[in-house]
């Protein structure tokens, strides 16, 4: 199951790889606007860092993924990989600035 929340992508995975727990409930913060893709209730999720990858476990039945300018996506209980949309440039592929 793949979800797209603006420039953030969230895909359900079967298992959590070896990863370190990470505090907070913010998946991505806009570098210019300061707006963030985050979970409404931080107690319903646990974030993990695995190398450069981010994972999130939804610990309750659902957890609302919110942002100032995007509709809310309720994510069902489970484990997800999280990454950012990319954009092509001839020099390098760089992350879109939200």
């Amino acid at each position: 199951m793949l979800y797209r929340h603006g420039d953030v992508l969230v895909q359900r995975v079967d298992t959590l790889p070896a990863a370190h727990p990470r505090p907070g409930a913010v998946l991505a913060r806009g570098e210019v606007t300061g707006h963030s893709h985050r979970f409404r209730n931080p107690t319903q999720v646990q974030l993990y860092a695995a190398g450069t990858d981010t994972f999130v476990q939804v610990l309750s039945e659902t957890a609302d993924l919110i942002h100032e300018e995007h509709a809310t996506i309720p994510l069902p209980r489970g484990t997800y990989r999280v990454w950012m949309q990319r954009e092509y440039s001839p020099e390098a592929i760089r992350r879109v600035i939200d």
Partner: protein, 352 residues
């Protein structure tokens, strides 16, 4: 339970219920205060920490409730008790029409999305006041004294007090559709968000904005020279804000910051941009945001500019995002942007 009294000295024997004031105040952790309030215990009551009653159905709070942080959002309360005295009060989504003059909030008062709120007490003084979405609020109180003031989506707001202060802080007036002017007492401010204030066409002569001024969709056609400008959060130049006709498609292609490029495209309009740069349509289909087009622009002495023109399903805002020149379909463009080299693997269940 600890009993606090402040009586001391001769002639004031400490008794379990001394009268007259000061009255002994029970000081309890927030969790204990929560249980007492849910049992209907009367005040006075002092709590320590964050007392979160949000979402609980309540008909009243005890009088003379005091403490650190109180959240009563979504409780259904239609009045706040007298002599409420807290560090922070979050009272969003309530059917309040007014708040009592006896209310004391030291740091932050949040009354967001209280659609019936029409009146705030004169002389209200608090560090941060947020009343966004108070769609019935037509005026602010005389003598208001704050550092941060958020009035976003106060559709009816049209009158300012004769005297008030927003001291060197932030004033957010996003989408205040009935506003026609800013008050003369506003002389210095760090951040001013006028985005969506279509009726505001000028700033007060004496106003100095030291941080930034957001002018997106406002009625402003100019700003004092040197004022840092924003367009819905994106830092932009005076030319992008006030002289979009002078922008060219070539300049937009050369802009490296994707957000600035998006604003520049919005300012000149996608149609003009794409016509000006003579885009060739490679493919067209629909996604959750509406029409999706894959466009190609040949560049001299460079590889072609191939981009996907899409709309955000939540805001409807248009984006043009560059993809590798090898992409041939709009779907493959979306898939590539999402990180999928194999377009067949890209099938989102929800897009927002």
């Amino acid at each position: 339970m600890r009993v606090h009294t402040s009586l001391s000295g001769p002639g004031h024997p400490i008794t379990p219920h001394p009268e007259p004031l000061p009255t002994p105040v029970r000081s309890v952790p927030a969790s204990e205060a929560r249980a007492l309030i849910l049992r209907g215990a009367p005040g006075p009551l002092h709590f320590r920490g964050t007392l979160d009653l949000s979402g609980v159905t309540l008909t009243a709070l005890p009088d003379r409730l005091s403490g650190d942080t109180l959240n009563v959002s979504g409780t259904g309360l239609d009045t706040l008790p007298e002599n409420l005295d807290v560090g922070e009060l979050i009272a969003s989504g309530l059917p309040l029409t007014r708040v009592p003059a006896s209310l004391r909030v030291r740091f932050r008062l949040t009354l967001d999305d209280c659609p019936r709120l029409t009146e705030l007490p004169a002389g209200l003084s608090v560090g941060s006041l947020s009343v966004q979405g108070a769609v019935s609020l037509e005026a602010l109180p005389e003598g208001l004294d704050v550092c941060f003031l958020n009035l976003s989506r106060c559709d009816a707001l049209c009158r300012w007090p004769r005297q008030a202060r927003v001291r060197f802080g932030h004033l957010t007036l996003r989408d205040c559709l009935s506003l026609r002017e800013l008050p003369g007492w506003l002389t210095q401010i760090a951040q001013l968000d006028l985005s969506g204030c279509r009726g505001v066409t000028a700033l007060p002569a004496g106003l100095r904005v030291s941080g930034w001024l957001d002018v997106a969709g406002s009625g402003l056609r100019s700003a004092p020279a040197g004022t840092p400008l924003r367009w819905r959060g994106v830092q932009i130049t005076e030319r992008i804000a006030f002289d979009p006709d002078s922008l060219t498609g070539a300049e937009i292609l050369a802009e490296r910051n994707t957000e600035v490029r998006r604003v520049m495209m919005e300012r000149i309009g996608y149609e003009r941009f794409l016509a000006e740069v003579a885009a060739q349509e490679l493919d067209r289909d629909r996604d959750a945001g509406g029409e999706r087009r894959l466009l190609r622009i040949d560049l001299p002495d460079d590889e072609p500019f191939v981009a996907l023109s899409v709309q955000c399903p939540s805001t409807g805002r248009g984006y043009v995002l560059r993809v590798p020149p090898t992409i041939r379909t709009a779907h493959a463009g979306s898939a590539w942007l999402a990180g999928f080299d194999d377009p067949a693997a890209y099938a989102p269940v929800t897009e927002a």
